[in-house]
Subunit: 321 residues, 2 copies
Amino acid sequence: MKYSPLFWPIELKEDRILILDETKLPQEVSYIEAKDYLEACSAIKDMKTRAVGQVILVMYTFLLEVRKNKQADLKKVAEAINATRPTLSFKFLTDMMLGWVESGEPLEKYINGFLEGLKYARIRQAEEAARLFNDEDVVLTHCNVSGLLPLIAQICAKENKKISFFVTETRPYLQGSRLTAWELMEAGIDTTIICDDMVAQVMSEGKIKKVIVGADNLAQNGDFANKIGTYQIAILAKHFNIPFFVLCPPVAKAKTGRDINLEIRPDEELLEYHGIRLAPKNAKAYYPAFDITPNELVTKHIFLKIQDMAMKISKPDYGME
Amino acid sequence: MKYSPLFWPIELKEDRILILDETKLPQEVSYIEAKDYLEACSAIKDMKTRAVGQVILVMYTFLLEVRKNKQADLKKVAEAINATRPTLSFKFLTDMMLGWVESGEPLEKYINGFLEGLKYARIRQAEEAARLFNDEDVVLTHCNVSGLLPLIAQICAKENKKISFFVTETRPYLQGSRLTAWELMEAGIDTTIICDDMVAQVMSEGKIKKVIVGADNLAQNGDFANKIGTYQIAILAKHFNIPFFVLCPPVAKAKTGRDINLEIRPDEELLEYHGIRLAPKNAKAYYPAFDITPNELVTKHIFLKIQDMAMKISKPDYGME
């Protein structure tokens, strides 16, 4: 099984962290280096990595600083990370790191244990998802689920089930066409890109058998936050009677979707693309970056089951895009 | 009342037709000239004008040729126009022109009568639509309705009803952000642009009071074809219990939406934007340019009522985007 580079986009070398630069995809697969926590913070600020990549990067950043200096001021590191993106909560992760430090055990042991647990839990999650698909299924997805979809398709293929994908562009950041279509095509999986406004038409033509998406934040009642656009796909799937699956992160502290804070991002990110103006000068926009899909629209949650010593101490609540 | 340039985007001077170049909007308001039917056909092929602009342009093209030469070969003109865009039916319009020519009366009289009737019918349609809105209504729209929305908002304003708009981008051609947002802003109307994947979220936040869209083709049972993305907005409006209005063209010959042919356009138009690649090399896409919204999702059809001698002879069936 060959993993998508997005499945585990961060590597730790002796004295530096290698970060897959997602902003360059799909034109270029390149890694940038972070030699200290300041460079790691810059990579987060510049959105070089997202989702699971941010979790791994935060952990490796602590590890790198401790390797370089056993007396490193990790509170300063935590503060710098927390400040990278004001509306995303890195605090839970950095608090977890500081908690591990205080426990007295070597931080490396915790982090490696946690990340190994995370990696295997993701593989098991893909295996569980693969069981939901049949041969010839055409599956619609939105945004990007960090390497899980190519893995699911490859597990299906091993069981002689061929599945193919329709991928929404996912405006304005185009994670669907830039990342998901790319990683699926790299894995040799049949992939068709559509615009976000074509979902109902494609469903009404009978082209879509199932929908699967990721989640950034899972509330205790089954509501989940994910990239903007997920909610309306769930409503449309219900309308057309198409099963809707969600690949979940660990359950967060939020009781319901109402307790999850949603990031509103700057207008300009949807009014311009790579320097090209898409709208009139002085136009106003509204850019909610995430939405909440209520539990009742979900056919099945596919949970991430991390079994690891570190996880028994605390549960992560990483609300990443 | 100041009309949007998109309300009547074509002008006939003595020896040439002036065509508002919609591909340059909103950066530049400029007109290109057509001195004969071949130049007019080029403008149609290059999508310089759309919707009602195409109807006016076809009629003025016949008029221009007849003015230049009373013995002009109008069948050749009709054939050239029909061939401009294979999947759009200009044939009904050009057949109507040829029928008028055969009737023996001066073509100019028919065409001017028809276009005057069309213009006043559009104004009456805007007046009828304006009655559906209340003060402070926030109205969602999709794609572009050729100048009708600014007119509706201005009629409302005269009656001391202030309405504002949310406009979807309308990928891939961005008629929403490029044309609708522009003409609304030009008319001084409060306008907010969102991406096509933000509709459910914005509705769920209670921001949208009503939806209004145009139609390219209206079937006899009330189903209608419009720019791709309209159908899913209608489903979402129903889900959130928001009234959904449609500004209709004259009723076509199609009995139901199933009888309307939908244009599938080239993949590349959604995989690239102004030379910037949005997707991986060799990516495959699917681009249905229109969809059909079933009658049962429509709260109210606002009909175009053309009362004119020419209209009694034949009804247009113009399936323009």
